[in-house]
């Protein structure tokens, strides 16, 4: 049965201080699923997660069980790494999830590590999240003391270790291969793929990198069953989704919601509508790297496949009349991304907002690939002058050409993360940019 608004899986313990301790978590049934999972064969666990339609909650929405299946059979050493480097602007769910329910994450990691036969496992947490780092370190210590982690967990003869590894300020470390480099004690610069981490990852060994929310769903799937979890969702997306709503709504917040909820439902029914009685102008659907939606595209469900394929969403253009090609003639509409929904009202200076997004990507480019290192800086500079009404007549063509020159030409997706919203805003809100340039010419 599809989930209803109010169904809570991973956020069920939000606000419950007692549940953060091991004793409190156990009192609510915590670590019981672990006992069940450790008695299961690893391949059965992988199949269960495959059947659940759990998809990666970090941004790409890749099927978790399928990803797990990429690890070569009989690998002598495998690692599971939790990506807790949440930094995509507009996204604020993992920080809350860690803070309120650290043991659910740890239980999910131990079960997942058993499924992958992984022994040495890591949580890579963003450097700025000092409060959450302290919460996690304490919870991991508790789990060791209780025998859930260690050389012989719960007397099963299985070995499982978990280390919390703290970053030090770099958005790029959310990219999984940059994260692995940072975990190895290097500068956080992405690696060329292939080989993919599942084949050659941490310390050169097969590694699965999963998001916090993804791993926290695993104990729930093993407890309640894959069919039940798949049934909560829509199409090929099982379970619920943590949606972070920020910007111009009456009640911004981090909400766990059914996957089929539309943007209009989210804004009007969950978040109390647009603030100050205003109207929606634009919505960023899943973190700032995703192309925006305009007001007539908000009846689409917030679901991975729908946002990529629903024909009610206008495809992104490189310039008027020329569609952006994702490769093989595929159109780019948008993506569900990281669950960060940013609502922008009709009083906001959209060009200034786009400039702020570009400023972020220019700041965070790791500098490894020329198109991104130079291009993100140019996007920021040109956007700034257009926003300040100092733009030149051909600046829109220039912005499009820079963005198009970045996309597809870099080692990692940070290039697209800057290029896609740039092209998306130019496609759907071109008049705003033209008006800024028109003011220069009129002066």
């Amino acid at each position: 049965m599809p989930a209803e608004i109010g169904t809570k899986l991973v956020s069920a313990k939000f606000g419950n201080e007692a549940a953060k301790t091991l004793a409190g978590y156990e009192k609510l049934g915590g670590y019981q699923v672990l006992r069940k999972a450790l008695a299961m064969r690893p391949e059965d666990l992988v199949n269960e997660v495959k059947a659940s339609n759990l998809r990666g909650r970090g941004g790409a929405g890749f099927a978790t069980g399928v990803k797990w299946g990429f690890v070569p059979k009989d690998s002598p050493a495998v690692h599971l790494v939790c990506n807790a480097d949440e930094s995509e602007p507009g996204t604020c769910k993992d920080r809350e999830l860690i803070y309120w329910d650290p043991h659910l994450l740890i239980e999910g990691m131990i079960i997942s590590a058993h499924a992958l036969r992984a022994v040495h496992n890591y949580i890579y947490i963003r450097g700025e999240m000092m409060r959450e780092y302290a919460v996690l370190v304490r919870a991991v210590e508790e789990a060791y003391q209780r025998g859930y982690l260690g050389k012989n967990i719960l007397g099963t003869g299985l070995e499982c270790h978990l280390t919390v590894h703290r970053g030090a300020g770099a958005y790029i470390c959310g990219e999984e291969t940059a994260l692995l480099n940072s975990l190895e004690g290097r500068r956080g610069q992405p690696r060329l793929k292939p080989p993919f981490p599942a084949i050659k990852g941490l310390f050169g060994e097969p590694t699965i990198v999963n998001n916090v929310e993804t791993l926290m769903n695993v104990p729930i799937i093993i407890d309640k069953g894959a069919q039940w979890f798949a049934g909560l969702g829509v199409g090929r997306s099982g379970g619920t989704r943590m949606i972070c709503v920020s910007g111009h709504v009456e009640r911004p917040g981090v909400y766990e919601l059914p996957i089929g909820v539309t943007f209009n439902q989210l804004i009007n029914e969950v978040c109390g509508g647009v603030w100050k009685g205003r109207k929606v102008r634009a919505v960023i659907p899943g973190g700032t790297s995703m192309p925006p939606l305009s007001v007539d595209e908000l009846d689409v469900p917030i679901e991975f496949d729908a946002l990529m394929t629903d024909e009610r969403i206008r495809p992104v253009e490189v310039r008027p009349g020329q569609l952006f090609d994702l490769g093989g003639g595929r159109q780019l509409r948008t993506m569900a991304g990281s669950g960060g929904v940013v609502v922008i009202d009709d009083h906001e200076d959209l060009v200034k907002a786009v400039w702020r997004i570009m400023k972020f990507y220019a700041h965070e480019s790791c500098g490894q690939c020329t198109p991104c290192r130079e291009g993100t800086g140019w996007l920021e500079k040109v956007c700034r002058r257009v926003a300040n009404e100092q733009g030149k007549p051909d600046d829109l063509e220039l912005l499009a050409s820079i963005a198009h020159g970045i996309a597809g030409n870099t080692i990692c997706a940070l290039g697209e993360a800057a290029a896609w919203p740039m092209l998306g805003f130019l496609t759907k809100f071109r008049a705003d940019f033209e008006a800024k340039i028109g003011k220069v010419r009129a002066a």
């Binding site: 602007p89 996204t91 000092m130 590894h165 030090a168 770099a170 940072s182 910007g247 960023i284």
Partner: protein
């Protein structure tokens, strides 16, 4: 070598080295510890980290200069990180930053002995924008009028840059 890690820090580093197949992955934690103990990462501090983990100075330098939380120069006791990214900007993040600049007499990027002021990128508190973070302490839904009170609070309760390592 002029700098030495405290006994507690040495113990922490030794324990962390057990968690990885080599000492290299401990470099971030060792740099955080060095920053906590010495206030900033001077050339001597980088040498100490390299010496402790058997890493070349060039490698430690490369890592220390890649990540924004590591500082090579002395700074204020508490770093005030004001987010101005999109979600915070939409609800007045730049006004909050301006209020901090005016009340502290600092421009973003500057510091005095008590405070450093940083214009921060998204700190994952978007649903409570504008947000400010100082070490383990978050200030949420901040209004410019509250800035003076926040500064007073932080004077009494400093949150050092690497308070938790």
């Amino acid at each position: 070598m002029s700098l030495e890690f405290s006994a507690e820090a040495q113990k922490k580093i030794a324990a962390l080295c057990e968690r990885y197949p080599s000492k290299k992955p401990v470099v971030l934690a060792a740099l955080h510890l060095a920053q906590k103990e010495f206030g900033h990462l001077s050339d001597e501090a980088l040498q100490l980290v390299g010496h402790t983990l058997d890493l070349p100075y060039a490698h430690v330098f490369g890592v220390a200069t890649f990540y924004t939380m590591f500082r090579r120069e002395p700074g204020g006791k508490t770093t005030i990180r004001v987010c101005t990214n999109i979600s915070c900007m939409l609800r007045g993040g730049y006004d909050v930053l301006a209020a901090f600049e005016s009340k502290l007499g600092l421009t973003k990027g500057q510091s005095n002995k008590d405070f450093g002021l940083v214009e921060e990128e998204c700190i994952a508190a978007c649903a409570n924008a504008p947000a400010v973070v100082c070490g383990t302490k978050y200030f949420l839904d901040v209004e410019p009028a509250q800035v003076e009170e926040i500064i007073r609070y932080l004077r009494e309760h400093p949150h050092p840059e690497s308070e938790v390592v």
